[in-house]
Amino acid sequence: MKDIAIKTINVALIIVTVFLTLMSGVLLYYKTLGKDKVPSAITSTYVTTVEDPQTGEQLPTIEANYYSNRNGKGYEVVELLFNCYSGIAKQAIYSRGFQLVINEDGTKLYQYNRYDGVNFETGHEYQWGDKMIIDINGTTYAVALDGEYSITTKTFSFGKAVWHTIAGLFTGYNYDENAFNYDTKVYQYTFEDLLIKVGQILKSSSNGTGDSVISLVDLGDFLHIYEIDENGQVSGEPVGNRTLTNSYFTMQTHYDNRGMVWAKQSMFESVAGDSQFNISGIADNVDYWKVTSEVELTEKDFVARYLTSENGYYYALSTEKINELKNFKNIEINIDFNISNFEDVNVLGLDYYALYGLKINSLTISSSTQRDFKLLVGSLKDTGLTTIDTVNVNLININSGVSV
């Protein structure tokens, strides 16, 4: 009885072993001779925007900035910003930035963070494979720089060359292929590699210089997307593993063919870790107490009224113009009324209520020849003027509203 049981187990074991060995053989076939019979698939991920949970604003997932320094007057700088989340609960946008600075001292990578509009050099440098949390159509994913590439080198092999000479008598000679040892090494892409590629993408873009958006930039060689399950676990392999993976990103870009010369040109407001960087010759950190908008008016802005009794013209701003200017707060109106710019016109002065109620900062009345100029009743009333500048003009004030 026991022998029968052992024999049965042995037979079953042999059948299973043969079957699974056949499976191994089938796999070997498809990995070697039957490669072309293996089906393939394409996985495409579209990464466009993330929503700032605090403001509701849609932000581009990737922003890029490249100053190519074609004019040789600054630094060549490539910048890349990932607008990602601070954690899987997506409480806040906590952006991660990478800046490649290329100057006479060489090439160096700097890493930044941005939160709530403040940029600062990171305290946690991201490495190959580190995950950043993003959003695709409302679902949380992670993105990582984890691409690899391989380089094959060939070195001459004397032994192979001799053997191939003998074998070549029967099979033909091909010393380009058969007399060498081949060594393939796999390398990991770095953030420097990614930034150089992004810089090249911006440089080659038909959008040219300035701000633009480049849609569907395939960074699938460098970046891969990972699913995150309901427990917050990030999958061990990227989506579309075993398939051709297209990682499309929509990038908001700025390309400039000048060199970067001050920190304000950087999306991190800092160059090589220095927020005060400025080799532009432009003053930095200037500040002011108050700003106004200066409005310059001349005699051309005035309308004329002919007075037959005096055979001349009085001038005033039109009611429409006065009402228009009254709409603006914080403006500073300066009037330069040059009588000599009127040709063959007898200019008598400012008309009744010519500037009534309009706050005037300064009024200059000038002429190339000495002459009188009348200020009719109310012409300067409620303008706030205390002085009037004159050049070759004798003012005749007829209760204008201002003591001059």
Partner: protein
């Protein structure tokens, strides 16, 4: 069976199991898509006609004396023949706005004062808005005198930079 045949079988079974799993995965690959291929608008594209929000104007200069910026926006239908327009920068007027058929030109002068009320700088901004059929092109130029570009940068950092072309009658 001899004991070593059991070891051989075990090895072959383990290899076979992994091979089978890989075969299943190999023949079950399927193309998938995650997300949607949409195009995002640049921050400069706005639906509101004749309002151009730059955020901040990114000036370019080769000599760091004369600065300029050219930004393009979506085209709009604009006819300057029949209506009078005024150009506003952050709601400050360019009173000398000149309007031709498809073009609006104006200057906005910002005067900066220091703590004692003294004038410390003046930024003279020259705007040209051109309404082409394919795009609206806004050119902004400024000359850097008395650190005017630096003051303007500070100003735009606080107030932003919004250019509007509005009908005078709508003021």
């Amino acid at each position: 069976m001899k004991w070593y045949w059991y070891i051989v079988c075990a090895v072959l079974i383990v290899v076979g199991i992994f091979s089978s799993i890989e075969l299943v995965e190999m023949f079950n690959v399927a193309s998938k898509e995650y997300g949607t291929a949409i195009t995002i608008e640049t921050k400069n594209n706005y639906d509101e006609i004749a309002k151009y929000d730059f955020g901040t104007i990114g000036f370019e200069s080769d000599d760091y004396i004369n600065f300029s910026n050219v930004t393009t926006f979506a085209p709009i239908e604009f006819d300057g023949k029949d209506k009078d327009y005024i150009l506003l920068f952050n709601d400050q007027p360019a009173v000398n706005t000149v309007v031709t058929n498809g073009k609006v030109v104006g200057d906005v002068n910002l005067v900066f004062y220091g703590l004692e009320g003294e004038k410390v700088s003046k930024a003279e901004l020259h705007f040209v808005v051109e309404y082409f059929a394919s795009q609206t092109k806004v050119t902004t130029t400024i000359t850097n005198e008395n650190d005017s570009v630096a003051y303007l940068e500070t100003y735009m950092g606080i107030n932003g930079a919004i250019l509007k072309v509005v009908e005078r009658s709508a003021l």
